[in-house]
């Protein structure tokens, strides 16, 4: 951290850097140091909440007054106690219980791998949003998952589900299936309103397919496919997926 302070020093003070430094001091249990750092910044009071939080976690709430007593600036010490009281003690939240619908239960079953139970509940209760279950199910039972998606979802959910299944198939290394699902996605009629969404979902699938295919078979065959994508966006995402596969970095924050 001293390197960070040296870097910023010629450019004047930086609240952001000092706050990061203060957080580090809190993590290390150096509360006196953190209070001193807080005094060097305009928004140092933000550290007061974190100090309160850390003291609560350690069960050392009593230390807050002692720390304040050692502060030279009495006004600042009072502000510290005022801010820290919000985090020094637990404030239990009011809990509101919402009864789960049978469809919610089906989604829960899917996350636990109980796909037969989930499918039965979906079919009995006519649940409309089935892509969530199908995507989980695809890992273990691809044909059952696709059947569920095609039988029970509306066109919006079907398009979303197909894009997700294509991405999962690609990650599993089943490129032929992934390409078939991506192709099917492009034939789903979503109307003018949601046409753009289907396009965006297709980009994600295109990206995943290009990445997984390049890892599996190398870039030469994939490049021909990438260049044949019908839109600039699709070609770009295919090329990015390939580059990710060939390079050493992973996908970064702004995926879509």
């Amino acid at each position: 951290m001293s390197g960070a302070l040296e870097t910023i020093a010629p450019f004047g003070t930086s609240d952001e850097v000092f706050l990061a430094y203060g957080h580090r001091q809190i993590e290390m249990g150096d509360f006196e140091g953190a209070l001193e750092t807080a005094g060097r910044t305009k928004s140092g009071y933000q550290l007061f909440y974190d100090i309160g939080d850390a003291l609560r976690t350690r069960g050392e709430q009593g230390r807050a007054r002692k720390l304040a007593a050692h502060m030279k600036d009495r006004k600042f010490a009072a502000l510290f106690l005022e801010c820290a009281r919000f985090t020094l003690w637990p404030h239990p939240e009011k809990v509101r219980v919402i009864r789960a619908t049978p469809c919610d239960e089906a989604y829960l079953d899917a996350t636990r791998g109980k796909f037969a139970e989930a499918d039965e509940v979906i079919r009995k209760n006519g649940c409309s949003n089935v892509s969530f279950v199908a995507v989980h199910q695809y890992e273990a039972d691809p044909s059952g998952a696709e059947r569920l998606l095609r039988d029970k979802s509306d066109s919006y959910d079907l398009a979303f589900g197909l894009s997700q299944l294509a991405a999962v198939a690609a990650r599993k290394g089943n490129i032929i299936e992934a390409l078939r699902l991506l192709n099917d996605l492009q034939t789903v009629n979503l109307g003018e309103k949601y046409k753009g969404l289907a396009g965006d979902w297709g980009l994600d699938a295109t990206h995943q397919i290009a990445r997984a295919w390049t890892i599996k078979s190398g870039p030469r065959a994939v490049l021909q496919w990438a260049r044949s994508r019908p839109t600039t966006e699709q070609r770009t995402w295919a090329l990015i997926g390939m580059a990710e596969a060939l390079g050493h970095a992973t996908a970064r924050r702004h995926c879509l």
């Binding site: 430094y21 580090r24 990015i240 050493h248 970095a249």
Partner: protein, 131 residues
Amino acid sequence: MAILLCVGLGIGWMAWRGFSDRKITDQELLREAVADWKKAGEPGYGPNSQTFEQQAAQGYYEDAAATGRLFKRADDVQWAIVELVRIRAENGDIQSAKNSINSLAGSALQKKAVEVVALIQGPERRFVGRA
């Protein structure tokens, strides 16, 4: 005649082998993505920002800087300048990140870029990519 034909075929075969054995690199693919965007009439607000991010993350800093300059909004161009410094520092190349800040002397971006490097030097952030 037959000898000439054989020589021609041989040269053709060698040229084809050379082409088909040529390694496709991530750098070329990312450049192609930018070129494709230009060829399409430069739609939207600029090339895909993920192309820029990947170029920077893979260490192709000159390419990333060139892609960043193609963004059409001033805010995006400025974001790209600071982002490039940040990724460089995250890649573990703190000194060259600092050096690249020197070229921003006198601009408002300089302090922002310095802050970004300082925060990466701090303990809150872990290096990603190449160390």
